[in-house]
Amino acid sequence: MPSNDTKDRGARAAADIRPFQIRGRFFTAVSLRPESEQQDESFFEALDDQLRQTPQFFANAPLILDLEQVPGLNGTEVLRRMVETLKQRNLAPFGVQNASGEQVRAASDLGLINITTGQDAPLKAERRQKAIKAVRQTPAKTKTITLPVRSGQTVIADEGDLIVIGPVSSGAELIAAGNIHVYGPLRGRAMAGAHGDETARVFCTRLEAELLAIAGLYRTSESLAPEYGLQNVQAFLKNERLCVETLG
């Protein structure tokens, strides 16, 4: 039957165009946590004070009432008064948190939902201190080594330059994100610009290196021209070639 046919097609079309999409959303809500069950003038004065200080931040902000400290604040009328006062102040209360059973019922009468998850915003003091400590421990950009770097040792300057005052033995490795300076004979390997910085350079007061590398381009002692041996030199990249030059 043709009519049936049309209906069928209509149904198929409806299946192709979905009537809605469901997406997860995260957003920040402000939580207001009354510390006392006395909802008198002083409470609202203090609230107004707070709102005046940062009017933009709270305007139409989704707001949760945290009732943890006020288990006695449980009448529907009491809550309704509270919600209305908040709405007058351009706040948008939509839920309650840490509510007792009676409070949940009163809240749902007012159209507020009960929120059972979520973390309190102020982080615990201990965790905050840790974060500050981690920032302080960030190493200085330049790493300076004043002892000889022995065979088998690796010195890494992950963030900046590496300065070694003393000899670097054969079999030792120097790695730096930036430049490498060696005030002494360089007999080991030196890898500057380890993260790809092609402007990085290697300087040493006596070149006997096993390997020089800048941003991954390298030369071994075999391919380092012998005339630079034992001299005060710098190595740098020029036209994708590792060049070595004596320093005055």
Binding site: P148, V149, R150, S151, G152, Q153, P167, S169, P185, R187
Partner: protein, 272 residues
């Protein structure tokens, strides 16, 4: 205050055990109460060089594991009253060395002895690390050739990073000195071996002494006599000079051997 001195090198066969025997005998000869410990578990040799292999009943590992008392394991030298040997086990391996056990034995030895000489095994593994861990000073034995020098350099790196003194906050680092053994001026002149200056330039630590290549060393070893207790030889007097420097005396550095000028005059001869 007793001192723990490790004799180490990285490379094998350079003369660690010979040096441990000679230095400990030299210290005892000077009147210091000295004990020498063999850390080369499984490849024990020190007792042979010291000539006491037939007197070994209990060993270092027995003491660590609590099977014997330290007094039972210590072998008193028959030639020198001040000298004792703590031999190691030939049947166990380096895993038998525990840090706590080594520390306990060293602490007990400190009560009696002025100098505790730790004869390290070759390599940089557990045995060598245990031998150096509690040291106050180090004698790094090196032959004047490139592979020995490079290995010594590696060991110097470990001494400054993998030891108790390195790990303890505020402690003085281990005082390391290099002892060049098997020094052969004729081969150096021919360019077959490195010069003393080259070795010191690479290692960048003070020189404790230069021991010449000498048949006296091998002969003494075969007879089980520390070279300083054997008949006088260039090697024996070089070791005695090294011991004198070790206890803080100023002794002029001599290149041993029969017809060699002193290092100083040779240095001047070179630079002039």
């Amino acid at each position: 205050m007793s001192k723990i001195i490790v004799v180490t090198s990285g490379k094998g066969g350079v003369g660690k055990t010979t040096t441990s025997a000679a230095i400990s005998a030299g210290l005892a000869k000077r009147g210091h109460k000295t004990v020498v410990i063999d850390f080369d578990v499984g490849l024990r040799n020190l007792d042979m060089i010291m000539g006491c292999e037939r007197r070994v009943v209990f060993d270092f590992i027995n003491v660590i594991q609590g099977d014997a008392k330290l007094k039972q394991a210590l072998i008193r030298d028959k030639r020198l009253d001040n000298l004792a040997v703590l031999p190691t086990s030939q049947t166990r391996d380096k895993d038998a060395l525990t840090q706590e056990g080594v520390e306990a034995v060293l602490n007990e030895l400190k009560e009696e002895f002025d100098y505790i000489i730790c004869d390290s095994p070759a390599g940089i593994e557990r045995g060598a690390l245990m031998a150096m861990y509690y040291a106050d000073e180090a004698i790094v034995v090196t032959n004047p050739e490139v592979s020995s020098v490079r290995d010594s350099d590696r060991v110097l790196g470990l001494l400054q990073s993998k030891t108790h003194r390195a790990e303890e906050e505020g402690a003085e680092p281990i005082k390391a000195q290099v002892l060049i053994t098997r020094h052969d001026q004729a081969r150096i002149d021919k360019g077959e071996m490195m010069t003393v200056e080259d070795v010191l330039e690479i290692l960048a630590v003070p020189l404790l002494g230069i021991i010449p290549e000498s048949p006296a060393v091998l002969r003494a070893s075969n007879m089980g006599v520390p070279v300083v207790l054997d008949d006088p030889s260039a090697a024996a007097s070089a070791y005695e000079d090294a011991v004198a420097r070790l206890v803080g005396e100023q002794v002029e550095m001599k290149i041993g051997g029969e017809r060699r000028p002193g290092l100083i005059s040779r240095l001047f001869g070179r630079t002039a």
